[in-house]
């Protein structure tokens, strides 16, 4: 029996406003417990919410970036339920009339296929506080610093058909909100969270299966694993004669499995109704136009431009535009280098990214500036050093904080391009390895590489590869 899986993602992105959505408390991460919870956040008797203008602007920005409809009139509604980290006993959210509806983003899959993923809606709401269960016997501790932080909840259509697609979509939204400057996308700190609704159905069937919701998975890798696990679990369950239950599940990364959450008493009847303390949000065209004017070049546009301006492949353009800072870095390198986009792209995506990852550092904190990188690459282009040596120089630049020329000079890394010097090295290598030479002449052509290696070793890697190749061929050719 062949199965299809259908996935919809609900993403909660914390908006990077200075103050909370309905109160003037700070939103900075990591403050002392309850130091950033004021009377409104604590739901003291008699307090009232007042809406943050910047949260609205950020939501509209997002709506425009996904080509969605921005509602001229949207309404805040109360979602009523009891939980210790929800001080009012209700969350202020949006229900029937969200601020953004419709829209889509394109995702590029590994094989280069582009899929358009529909977004049902995006709405504004407030975050809850945090419940801490560890370390206290029989008690749960509640920190309400996070309560009231503005969130935008982005709901995708169930258009994702594999864990890979789901992750591609998640990464796309992650990139987008960072480009827009509305969310820092920090998954460890919880400013970008994802719930996945997963269901399976027999291949070709129209009817969607019962879905389970996997809550709060906080890394791209875990999302992929959790979804794959859940798909397999559901298939196994159904094939064994069971039925998928509509429920909430948590992903346990240590065990690599999803587990059912103990149901919170009654299946939640949230009793949504329009919040009487907040009046309808009305947005007019001039406002929308003003926000539209602040949109940066978006990832897709930037990727298109990089492809046409620099003849980059879709894959390369896609990787470079994952973050605006990375793409900008790349463009500065090419500008300073006066060309060579492929070389620049490969270095940025390859060796430089390797160093960034190794030290856990973002491109914006790169220890090598784009100008410095351009100067290094210029030395490759002008044959001062080989590409291989350049990798070592790059690492040295990163660790020592020095410019390429200084390192090349200090370590004497200049490439040997002088033909007679290379020829001499070749002669020595051939003379030192008569057996291999005989085998080569007998037909073992692979030994060509062996001799290249020998010369490289003898010259400390500095022989210009192209020259070496040419000259060795000549020598061996006879």
């Amino acid at each position: 029996m062949a199965w299809d899986s259908v996935i919809g993602l609900e993403i909660h992105a914390q908006l990077s406003t200075r103050s909370k959505i309905f109160s003037g408390s700070a939103t900075t991460y990591g403050a002392a417990p309850n130091a950033q919870a004021n009377l409104v956040d604590l739901a003291y008797p008699g307090v009232l919410p007042v809406l943050n203008a910047e949260a609205v602007r950020m939501a509209v920005k997002f709506g425009l970036a996904i080509n969605a409809r921005v509602a001229r009139r949207s309404v805040f509604a109360r979602k009523n339920y009891f939980y210790p980290d929800l001080p009012k006993g209700y969350q202020i959210s949006q229900y029937e009339l969200p601020i953004v509806s419709g829209g889509a983003v394109d995702i590029v899959l590994e094989d280069g296929v582009v899929r358009r993923i529909g977004i049902t809606r995006a709405h504004l709401e407030e975050d809850a506080g945090k419940s801490l269960h560890e370390g206290l016997a029989g008690l749960t501790a509640v920190d309400l610093n996070r309560a009231g932080t503005p969130l935008i909840e982005i709901v995708s259509e169930p258009h994702l058909y594999s864990a890979r697609e789901a992750v591609a979509y998640l990464k796309k939204i992650h990139t987008l909100v960072r480009y827009l400057g509305i969310c820092d996308g920090n998954m460890q700190e919880g400013s970008f969270r994802c719930d996945a609704n997963v269901s399976v159905k027999p291949r070709g069937s129209e009817k969607l299966g019962t879905r389970a919701e996997i809550k709060n998975v906080n890394s791209f890798r875990y999302v992929e694993r959790a979804i794959n696990y859940e798909i397999a679990r559901q298939i196994e369950l159904i094939e064994g004669g069971g039925k998928v239950v509509q429920e909430t599940r948590l992903y346990d990364p240590d065990r690599g499995e999803t587990r059912s959450m103990r149901t919170k008493e009654e299946a939640n009847d949230y009793r949504y109704f329009p919040d009487p303390d907040l009046l309808p949000l009305e947005i007019d065209q001039p406002y929308i136009d003003a926000v539209a004017a602040t949109l940066p070049e978006l990832p897709d546009q930037k990727a298109q431009r990089l492809m046409s301006e620099y003849s980059l492949s879709p894959y390369d353009a896609g990787v470079l535009t994952t973050s605006m800072e990375l793409a900008d870095y790349f463009e500065v390198v090419v500008r300073d280098l006066g060309g060579q986009p492929k070389l620049a792209a490969n270095t940025v995506m390859g060796e430089l990214s390797g160093l960034l990852n190794r030290d856990g550092v973002d491109i914006s904190q790169s220890r090598i500036s784009p100008g410095s990188l351009a100067r290094l690459l210029a030395r490759v282009v002008d044959n001062t050093i080989s590409g291989k040596i350049a990798k070592d120089v790059l690492e040295a630049m990163w660790d020592e904080g020095r410019e390429a020329d200084a390192i090349i000079e200090a370590r004497g890394l200049k490439q040997i391009t002088d033909e007679s010097a290379i020829e001499a090295a070749i002669d020595r290598a051939l003379a030192a390895n008569p057996a291999q030479l005989a085998d080569y002449r007998a037909g073992k052509e692979k030994l060509f590489g062996f001799f290249i290696g020998q010369v490289m070793k003898a010259t400390g890697g500095k022989a210009n590869p192209a020259r070496l190749n040419e000259l060795l061929k000549k020598k061996l050719g006879g």
Binding site: A26, A35, H133, L136, L139, T140, L250
Partner: protein, 96 residues
């Protein structure tokens, strides 16, 4: 419009209100009476009437500038707390 015992218990649970066996009948009775009162609304023709969520017409949301206006006053605010420790509110263990 009569409220059954089950409905009453379900409502009480949703509202997190303890309800003893003795109290239940009297609440069921009271609720049923109020719902009977409210039944009068059913007969009213409200086709194409826009529900009124706010009493003043034409009002729209007022927006606040995004600025931090609060300082840490948790000690003051926690004076009323039944149980706090190290700045955290404590409740019986929540099982997830």
């Amino acid at each position: 419009m009569s409220i059954t015992r089950e409905q009453l218990e379900s409502i009480a649970r949703l509202a997190r209100l303890s309800l003893s066996a003795d109290e239940a009948p009297q609440y069921a009775e009271g609720l049923s009476r109020v719902l009977a009162l409210v039944e009068q609304l059913q007969g009213v023709d409200t086709r194409s009437v826009i529900p009124m969520a706010h009493p003043l017409p034409g009002q729209r949301a007022r927006l606040r500038t995004d600025e931090v206006k609060e300082t840490d006053q948790h000690e003051l605010y926690q004076r009323n707390a039944p149980q706090v420790e190290a700045g955290l509110y404590l409740v019986p263990r929540v099982i997830e």
